[in-house]
Structures are given as C-alpha cells and as structure tokens.
Symmetry: C2
Subunit: 498 residues, 2 copies
Amino acid sequence: MSDKLNQLKEILGEVSDLNHANSVLSWDQQVNMPPGGGEARGQQLATLGKIAHEKSTSQEVGKLLDDLKSELNGSDSDDAAMVRVAARQYDKQTRVPAEFVAEQAIVTTTAFEAWVKARSKSDFSIFLPHLEKVIDLVRKYISFFPPADHPYDTLLDDYEPGMKTADVNKIFDDLRPQQVKLIKAIRSAKQVKADFLHKKYNEKKVWDFGETIITRFGYDWNRGRQDKTAHPFQTTFNVNDTRITNRFEADNPLSTLFSAMHEAGHAMYEQGSNPAYERTPLAGGTSLAVHESQSRMWENLVGRSLPFWEHFFPKLKKTFPSKLDGVSLKSFYKAINRVEPSFIRVNADEATYNLHVMLRLELEIGMVENKFALKDLPEIWNTKMQEYLGITPPNDAQGVLQDVHWSYGSIGYFSTYALGNLVSAQLWEKINEDICDLDEQTAKGKFDELLSWLREKIHIYGQKYEPQDLVQRITGSKIDSAAYVRYLTKKYSDIYGL
Amino acid sequence: MSDKLNQLKEILGEVSDLNHANSVLSWDQQVNMPPGGGEARGQQLATLGKIAHEKSTSQEVGKLLDDLKSELNGSDSDDAAMVRVAARQYDKQTRVPAEFVAEQAIVTTTAFEAWVKARSKSDFSIFLPHLEKVIDLVRKYISFFPPADHPYDTLLDDYEPGMKTADVNKIFDDLRPQQVKLIKAIRSAKQVKADFLHKKYNEKKVWDFGETIITRFGYDWNRGRQDKTAHPFQTTFNVNDTRITNRFEADNPLSTLFSAMHEAGHAMYEQGSNPAYERTPLAGGTSLAVHESQSRMWENLVGRSLPFWEHFFPKLKKTFPSKLDGVSLKSFYKAINRVEPSFIRVNADEATYNLHVMLRLELEIGMVENKFALKDLPEIWNTKMQEYLGITPPNDAQGVLQDVHWSYGSIGYFSTYALGNLVSAQLWEKINEDICDLDEQTAKGKFDELLSWLREKIHIYGQKYEPQDLVQRITGSKIDSAAYVRYLTKKYSDIYGL
C-alpha cells in the first residue's frame, strides 16, 4: 500500500506544484505585470493548467485511487482523508470532458469582457446574450453529474463540499426574516454619525496602520507579504508563502484597515495548515465558507468590536489627530458599524450583507431551474432589493451588473459568503466559552490565544474534514444561523438602542 | 510537413511556457518572495523543469525533428532555423542522462552553499572539495558528447553556439598583450580625479534618473519594469514582458545608472525579438556574447561616451547640484571612465575588464585539462592577477572566490563577457558608418535611429543565426578584437593624454 500511496503523492505533488506555479503567475499578473504581458501570460496559465489537468485525471491516478480507496476505507487517518479528497476531485474532473472545459474558457473570457463593457455602460443588454451562453454551459456542466436532489447541488458542492441546496435554503429561510426585521428596526432608530471616516486620510499611514494591526493578529510576514491591487485578495503559493493584497479608496480610506484584517484572516488560515499536508490535496482551507468564517471573524468579530478599538483607537487618533479630533471611542465604534442599506454588496455592513447574498442565491437557483427569462433579471433584482433592503438601484451597474462572478461562470459561489458569516459567529460563541477573558485580551491588543485556538481547532486540519463536519466537531452543531442572529441583535441593540 | 511542424511547435510552445513560468518563479524569488518560501519554491522550480525536460526530450519530438530536418535541409527559412535550433537543443538534452542532471543539481546546490560560506570567511579550503566534485561532473558531462577538438569546446558551445576554444584563445591571445600594454601606459599617466562620484547621492533620485535615461533609450515600460534585487539582472517572460532589476550601492551610487543602461540593453534586445518567434526556440537573444554586446554597448559605448553626457550631464547636475558643484563635463566624463586595476571583476573598468575574464578562461581550460591541482588555484589566480593587472588580491574572497559561476557548475560562461565587449565595438564601427551623425544624435539625447538599427540588424532575428554568423553578416568579419582595441586606444589616449 505505501508504494501506491507514494506514487499517488508523487503525482499529486507535481499537480500541486503546477497549480501553485499558476497562482504565482496570476498574482504577478495582478500585482506587477506590465500591460503588454497579458496575452502570453494567459497562454502560460492555460498550458500549466492543461498539464495539471492531464496529470490529475490520468488513468494511472484513477487506478491508484481505486486501489487505495478500498484499502483505506473507513479510516480516519490523514492518508485516508487525502485519498478521499483526491478521489472526490478526480471524480469531478474526469466527468467533465476536456472540450467542455475549453469551450467554457472561451465563453467565459468573452463573457467577462462583455460584462466589463456592460457594467461601465450600465447596460444589461450587452451582457445578456453572454449570460445566456454561460447558463447553458452551467446546465450542461450539471448534466455530466448524476442527478442530485436539486440540480444546483452539483454547483454548490464545487465550492462547499457536502453542502446541499436544501440545507442552504433552510438556513437562509430561517435567517432572512430576522435580518429584514433587524434592518427595519435600525432604520427607525436614531442614525449614527460617520462623516469623520470620509475625510482625507494619508494613504501610507493608513496602509502602515493596517500592517501594524495584522502583525499583532499574528500574520507571519516571514511567510507572506502585502501588495497593492485593484481588488484585495489572498493567495497561497505554499504554507510558507501566503500573500495578501489590498487597496486604498480615497472616499472610504479606513476600509483599507478592514480589508487588511479580512485578507490576513484568510492568510492566517492558510499559514496554519498542517505542513505535513503540503503538496497534497489536504493542504489549505477546507471550503470557501470556512475560509470566509476566518476572514470575517478577524475583520468583524474582532476588528469591528469595541474591545479591539479600546486598544487601537488611541493609536489611530495619535496617527490621525486632525481627522479624529473630538471623536470618542464610542462614536468611532458606532461609525464603523453604521448600518445603511446600500446597493453594492462588497461595501455592505454586517447587518445587510447576507441579504445581498441571499438575493443572489435565489436568482442563481432560479436561473438553473429556468424559472424566469434572463432578460427579466434586472427587474427581479430590483424588486428583491426593495423587498429585502428597502432600496431600488438607480441603474444596472449598481444592481444586477455589479458582481464579476456570473461572467466567470461561477454559479454556486455566493452563498459561501453568508455561510462564512454564520460559521464565524458559531465559532465565536465556542471560542468565548473556551477563552473566558477574550474581550480583555482583545482590549490589550493580545491575539495569540485566539490565533492558537483557531490553529488548533481549524487551521491545522487543512481540508481533512468537510465544512459541515468540521463545524459540528467544534461547535456540536452543523452550520446554522442562530449564533449569528444573536450576535447581530446584541451588537446593534447596543449601537442603535433598539 | 506543415502537420509535423505544427505538432512540433505545439510541444515546444508548451516547453517554452513551462520555462517562462519558471522564469517568473525565479524572478519572484529574487524580487518578492518572503524568506519562508524558499524550500517550496525550489520544489516548484524543479517540477516545472522536470516536466519541460520530459516534454522536450520525448521520442515524439526526436522523430518529428528527424523527419523535419531532412525535409527542410539547406533552407534559410525561419522554420528551418527553428528546427535546426530545436534539434541542437534536443541533441544536447538527450545526451545527458536524467540521473546525471539530478546528481549535478545536488552537487551544485551544496557547492553553492559551501561557496557562500567560503567567500564570507575568505577560506578557499571550504570550497575546494566541492569544486573538485563540480569539476569531476563537468568532465563527466563532456564525456557524454562526441570528442571535440578540445574538451572545453563542449562547454563553450552551451553558452556560445558554434564557438570553439581555439577561436577564443586566438582572439584573446591577440587582445591580451595590447590591453596589458594599454593599462601600463595608463598607470604611468596622470591619474583622474573621481571623488565626487562617491559622495552621498539620494537613492530615489538616482533610481529615477536611471529610468529617465533608459526611457530615452527606448526601453518599453509597457512591456517591462524595473525592481530592486541584490544583484542586477534581466529576465524574459515573453517578448512583451521582459524585466530588469537593479541595486543601489551607497559607496558607488552612480553605478545604478550604468546598471540600468546595461540591463536595459539586454532587455531591449529581447523586446526586439521577432514576435512570430514567440513560443519557439528562436525567441530571444542568440547567445550570451551577442547579448552582452547589446548591454555593454548601451552601458559603455553610449553611456560612458562624451556626447551622451553632453546631453545628460546638465540634467544630472541639476538633480544633484551640491554633489557636482564645480565639476565640469570633461571631469565627469573622465571620472566615469577612470581606469584602476582592481580585484573584483564586476566593478572593473572597460580597460581592465577583459583581463579578468581571460584569467578565468585560462583557469577553466586548465581545470578541464587537469593541468594543475585545484588546491593551487588561489596561488595561480594571484600570480596571473599580478601579471595582467599588476596587483595581488589580499585574500581569496577578493580573488579566486569572488564569482558564483563555478559553484553553479557554469564552466564555459566567462569568455562570453569579453567576447560581448569585442562584438559591441565591431558593431559600433559599422553603426557609425551607417549613421554618420550618431554622436550628434547622442548629444541631443536621441537614440531612436540607433535602436532601430539594432532592431533591424540584430534583435529581429532572435536565435535564427549563430553568433559568429550574425556578426559576419553584419560586419563582414567574425568576432575579433581589432575594433575593440581601436576603441579603447582612442578613448583612453584622449582621457589620459597617452
């Protein structure tokens, strides 16, 4: 057996090297690449991707997996988990014909370009014919897989292994009315002042302050770095080189701080993955939702909490005395937690964010079910925005055209953002049981015990456990919304005096 | 035939993508990578290198090359040249067993580490046992090839296709006494003042000035960028993304300007390669010597010339008024061309540089011939330094241990540095025939006609012609030293009043 295992690890190690090399190429493309380099870079990415695909879907790998699966069946060992995850990926990859992948690449490349144009002109009709092709391909993709309870299950499983559409619908159906109710209550309450957040802050000082914060969190610079890009992201080249990027928005300067915390949350998850899992399918975070639970925890549950700013606000005030003159800790805390229904998901506050996601999930399921004509999407979008958030986008750029995901063909992704929020709150309750003076530690700017907890309970396991199993192992229950509703209600009752 | 050609191009295109991906990984390693990332990066580089090697040495490629060679035999077409170059590389790569390559990788990795230690302690005995292994492997490498006129031919051919040891020896034997004589004459002349070059210059201003110069040269920033590294280098990811790096040395601040010109010279060669050659073995520069002719031309023949500084010195003075106060154009010109025999090759001036190279070539040939015991290398080095340059290194760090090349197993490389100087002067004479007002253009800071000439006569041909053929096509003779001696004599007679 160990021979076969080593053979498999050898091949999957090369696949991992190829995929990580592609991550370096993509990072470079977004961080450094001169404009001229794009076309050839696309070709290089395609070649490495093709070779990785050929290697990971070879008959040799299939045979090794079959043999190893039966031998390791039922074991809880790392090797058994590795074979399980590898077999799952192998099954997915071999079901989808290479010609389909090639066709999808062409369709989505064109669709992406059309989306960029459509958004800049705020004209959905430019994107519509491309979205139609994308959705046709999505349906075709689903057809390669055995029938599931719901066709959307197949898509969801690519982002959130083991999660079912019915599970997510149940979670969201439970959550939705409570969030809508909370927002209505907040809208009737006395509003919070936040004008001092939108003054002209010095970019370099904000950037450095963000780095100070995430250094305190425990982001390991010896195994990472932060660069500037159009959109913040985190990427992993190996457990000892996981990088983050960030941006500075002049009209919302302090968002750089929260982006730094968010991306560092992702990166610390990756930095904490078991080094023994390197070059195997167990390396890195187990799902998008669990990943998002880490980023949102550091960004929101830590980074937008009162204890956190008890420690950092005096330092921030010292860094920006003229901007924050006369602003109290409590006013600052309220301002960074200000709730205001808005059109753009990525700028949404904690109270409204999930509703943006739920809206998208409903539309995605509707598209897969062929429940409405795609041309009616903008109208449906706007109606739902009014229903959930009480506002109607003035145009499609601020409505149905705002997100890139559909142009990429990434249908099934969105719900993981909201699930991540829910998981972060479930974990948070458990953490507060285990670390009883967490708030006091936070108020002292000490995060080592928190990070150790996350490392030990979550990070170290890499992809060994599926997300639902992992959450259950830690909290005793699967993903649900109760903890998040408790968290939101408590936080905003205090801030808005509900 | 076109089917087979397309098949070959398809495979070699993938090999090119893999090699260029590795160039991105290496560049990132030197420019950005956090310290922790090294081990995994080494593994990624090795995997991509292995896959590229497997693809380029497959029997399929061998068969395609055989068929195409006989069909295209004698043709001067690009396709025929591509097949010729590919066949040459295939022959080399398939002669060397994979186990040998693996052994060499291990030996040179350890030898490199030993060299770093040996140099820092200035203790040759630390490096000696590793050098012995490296030279054993070099002899073994030679044994994989058919006997040549001289065993060193096999090594030289890897860096300078078609060049023979006898050719280089003849060129250098001719050149050596003339350069030694020139240096003696200079040493007896009145020395040049250069203290103002070693004041404290502002790093950012120097860096920006360098970028201004190479922008004027025609380095295309839309297809490149400049970053900071420990040692300057140029690297190519594709014709539309060729980057340079540079450094700032506080004790020799203006060397940054000349490094920028040097690396931009390499990069502009790569930027001028025929786009139709992309992803084939014809892309990029044809040999190290021709590459060096481009970098040294921009650095020295242009960048250390009087007309060049007629244009740029007033601007430099304006940028650094307090450093260059009272310094005349002529004094500045003399200072940047100051001749002083010194221990370190990379810091050597134009008059002494080639002698450093010749010394290394003699020692390399001696090592391959087993002419002396390796333990005697330091002594032989020092004796030759005294003979050629009239100075003796105070220690091995400043003598035999100064260069990294031997630890890498790169025996055969050094002579290309000097050959590049010679070629630059041969080309320069031809250019001055074709562009009669070149000096006047240079004095106006105009370089477009010069760059066009280089593009049209050299760059566009990529690797289509072997270096000797290319030089002969352009100048009417193969590589020789006459033009360089004329150039040096004229320049230094003027500067030192010989």
